[in-house]
């Protein structure tokens, strides 16, 4: 319904603009053709209507083939002069109107919307709708593209959509410059399509985010919504809509910080699994638990403070707007600078958190701390992606870039929801089990950062495994991940968990049988993924992995084996 009205709007604008020129052309053509057909030629014969139309066509368009089919009489030439002037003027008028039409902003807008809606309608594979293409949106789109997943993008800012057009993604990502709080635009973006898997709301304005979420819930009660939000009020409101995942970058960061204090090895594993560039597997960050100073008590400052207090750290808070805070060692109600830092006791502080919403203030605090206490642990909040180079140079121990944290968490939810569950499981299990897992992973991947991938035991992704399982046999994880080069070894991939019938089996052992429909999360190297996929899709390799024997392929050799037993067929020197 909404889509046809879009097309109607385009055709209506075209008609309104072209009505005049088309009438003019028809009238001029009619006069010219009828006149030419009525005026007698040199031999007294009239031109036929078809020839008159032919003459007028090449004359009015200034092609001018000459006097066809025979030389004209003077009366005909006189009429031809009139025809030339009439025709050329009418055509100029028509062409001018076409140019005005294609430059008309309403027409362009309608055409763009129509094209966008059509591009979205044609998507056959699963896709995600992203509202807001700022720092977070573009990081998210890049992440989706790296995983060959499609995104459909709406942003109200035309500059951002222009920026989108310049990106080289692996998949096409249709984008439209439009207000996402208008229901029609959301429908154009495909939120009602069955292959739309989720809507990700990332605009800067909390209120607009809420409005989009409410509208989407009304338009499609089942769609999964992921929304960035950091205000308590908005979060409660969003939760009431149902099936909404809230992404609060400050809370996520504070949780990670908490994890770094209480479970450093798990924090390290998590950083490696989300491919954080600084993290190296098996080298956890050591967070000191002495005296801490928090500069800036906004959204991030409060979350960090809450998690510090939970872990028994009493920080000093420096913020001009801060009042008496329960649990804090001291509150200094003035801006953070060298003086207030000194007053807060920076020379015996274990660490400093620079958490204001101004990047320049944060960098200033960082510089002051580096000068006064070079060995203090520094955590800094980076607000804008544009300041990346400055923050790289500042060399803080931990950086919270809220756009990056948000994009990573959204990707985790969309691509591999198993990972988060796995990390939470390890958290509950304690550091020893986590340490074992890290050691196993380290033995597999060496110094590289671990690569995560998911294998679905389905006919599309693991044809041979399905064939094997359906032929009544059981297949265990250990058999599946044997190395075809060396049957005693394994490919570079460790199964982290198996999702089966809505449940998740954590750290499955090699005896664990694989079932049809399982989703197995692996971590290892990219080469390991290629090898595993090859094994799972070649029935001969898979049978060899399980039995250690190359089965005969052709009918003749199969018959031979049946007839004369194994000795006739295989002189298997050594099964390895």
């Amino acid at each position: 319904m909404a889509v046809t009205s879009e097309l109607d709007r385009v055709s209506m604008v075209v008609l309104r603009y072209m009505r005049g020129p088309i009438f003019a052309l028809i009238i001029v053509y009619a006069i010219g053709i009828i006149g030419m057909a009525l005026i007698p030629g040199q031999d007294g014969e009239n031109m036929s209507l078809f020839h008159a139309f032919y003459f007028f066509t090449y004359t009015a368009t200034t092609t001018g083939f000459g006097e066809i089919p025979t030389a004209y009489s003077d009366e005909q030439r006189l009429w031809a002069i009139l025809c030339i002037y009439m025709g050329v003027v009418a055509w100029l008028y028509a062409i001018g109107s076409i140019f005005r039409l294609v430059q008309n902003p309403h027409f362009l807008l309608a055409l763009n919307e129509h094209r966008f809606a059509r591009a979205v309608r044609r998507i056959r594979r699963p896709f995600f709708v992203i509202c807001g293409f700022g720092d977070t949106g573009s990081l998210l789109a890049r992440g989706l593209s790296d995983n060959w997943l499609r995104g459909v993008i709406i942003d109200i800012n035309p500059e951002r959509i222009k920026a989108l057009r310049l990106r080289d993604y692996n998949v096409t990502m249709p984008g439209m410059c439009a207000d996402p709080t208008v229901p029609k635009h959301l429908i154009d973006a495909g939120i009602r399509m069955p292959n739309c898997k989720a809507l990700v709301i990332l605009t800067v304005d909390e209120e607009i985010n809420q409005r989009i979420a409410v509208l989407t819930r009304l338009l499609n009660p089942k769609l999964r919504i992921l929304c960035r939000s950091s205000s308590q009020q908005a979060i409660e409101h969003l939760h009431s809509l149902g099936n909404v995942t809230i992404i609060n970058p400050f809370e996520i960061f504070a949780q990670l910080l908490s994890m770094a204090i209480t479970a450093p090895r798990l924090h390290n594993l998590n950083s490696c699994l989300v491919r954080s560039p600084d993290a190296r597997l098996g080298e956890p960050i050591q967070m000191p638990t002495g005296d801490w100073i928090i500069c800036g008590f906004g959204r991030m400052g409060q979350w960090v403070y809450r998690h510090f207090v939970q872990n028994g750290i009493k920080p000093v808070i420096i913020d001009p707007r801060a009042e008496d805070v329960e649990g804090a060692a001291r509150v200094i109600a003035s801006p953070a600078n060298t003086e207030t830092l000194k007053e807060a006791g920076v020379d015996h502080a274990a660490g400093v958190v620079a958490a204001t919403d101004s990047d320049h203030d944060n960098l200033g605090v960082l510089m002051a701390v580096k000068a006064m206490k070079p060995d203090a642990f520094t955590i800094v909040r980076q607000n804008s992606h544009d300041h990346q180079i400055a923050f790289d140079a500042a060399n803080a121990n931990l950086v919270l870039q809220s756009s990056l944290t948000t994009a990573r968490r959204v990707l985790k939810h969309l691509i591999s929801p198993q990972v988060q569950v796995f990390i939470e499981y390890l958290r509950a299990q304690g550091e020893d089990i986590c340490g074992n897992t890290v050691a196993r992973l380290k033995a597999t991947v060496g110094d590289q950062s671990p690569h995560l991938w998911q294998v679905r035991i389905t006919p599309e992704e693991a044809g041979a495994a399905i064939e094997y399982l359906r032929a009544q046999q059981t297949l265990t994880l250990g058999e599946m991940r044997r190395d075809p080069h060396d049957l005693d070894g394994f490919i570079d991939g460790i199964p982290l968990s198996i999702a089966r019938d809505g449940e998740q089996i954590m750290l499955p052992s090699d005896d664990q049988p694989v079932h049809e429909g399982d989703e197995i999360l692996f971590s290892g190297t990219e080469y390991g993924e290629i090898m595993l996929k090859a094994s799972l899709n070649n029935i001969y390799t898979l049978e060899y992995l399980v039995s250690g024997v190359d089965r005969p392929r052709g009918y003749f050799f199969q018959w031979l084996e049946k007839r004369f037993g194994r000795a006739a067929n295989t002189a298997q020197a050594d099964p390895a």
Binding site: M531, A534, I539, Y540, R553, Y555, N569, T570
Partner: protein
């Protein structure tokens, strides 16, 4: 080592060698091409095709296809030989000989493709 591989490789490479042995020489000269050689090449190729039946892998399908091409072309060449031979008393004329040998040459190309696939598959079999 796997007996299937040995037998399989032997037959396929032998088929290629015999086809080449027939094609070698001047295309138009009937003295350079032995009809027995052609017949043996056809027989070996038919055996090779038979051995390839039943392989469900992608590579197996491709090998079977190229093997069938060889069969068709070689049998066509042999039929042509019979037809041309019955026309004249002194064996096929130079023009007819060229036709027969070109067909066998086409079969040679398909045969080479089979062997290349065989070698590639063996090298890539990861063990």
């Amino acid at each position: 080592m796997n007996m299937e591989r040995v037998v399989f490789g032997f037959v396929i490479i032998l088929a290629l060698s015999f086809t080449y042995a027939f094609v070698m020489g001047d295309v138009t000269d009937a003295n350079h091409h032995n009809v027995w050689m052609l017949t043996i090449a056809i027989l070996i190729n038919l055996i090779a095709t038979g051995l390839k039946l039943g392989d469900r892998s992608q590579v197996g399908a491709l090998m079977l296809a190229s093997s069938l091409v060889v069969d068709v072309l070689l049998i066509a060449a042999r039929v042509l030989w019979v037809v041309y031979e019955s026309e004249t008393a002194s064996g096929p004329s130079p023009e007819s000989m060229a036709n027969i040998v070109s067909l066998a040459g086409g079969a040679l190309v398909a045969s080479i493709i089979t062997v290349v696939i065989l070698v590639g598959d063996t090298l890539l079999s990861r063990r």
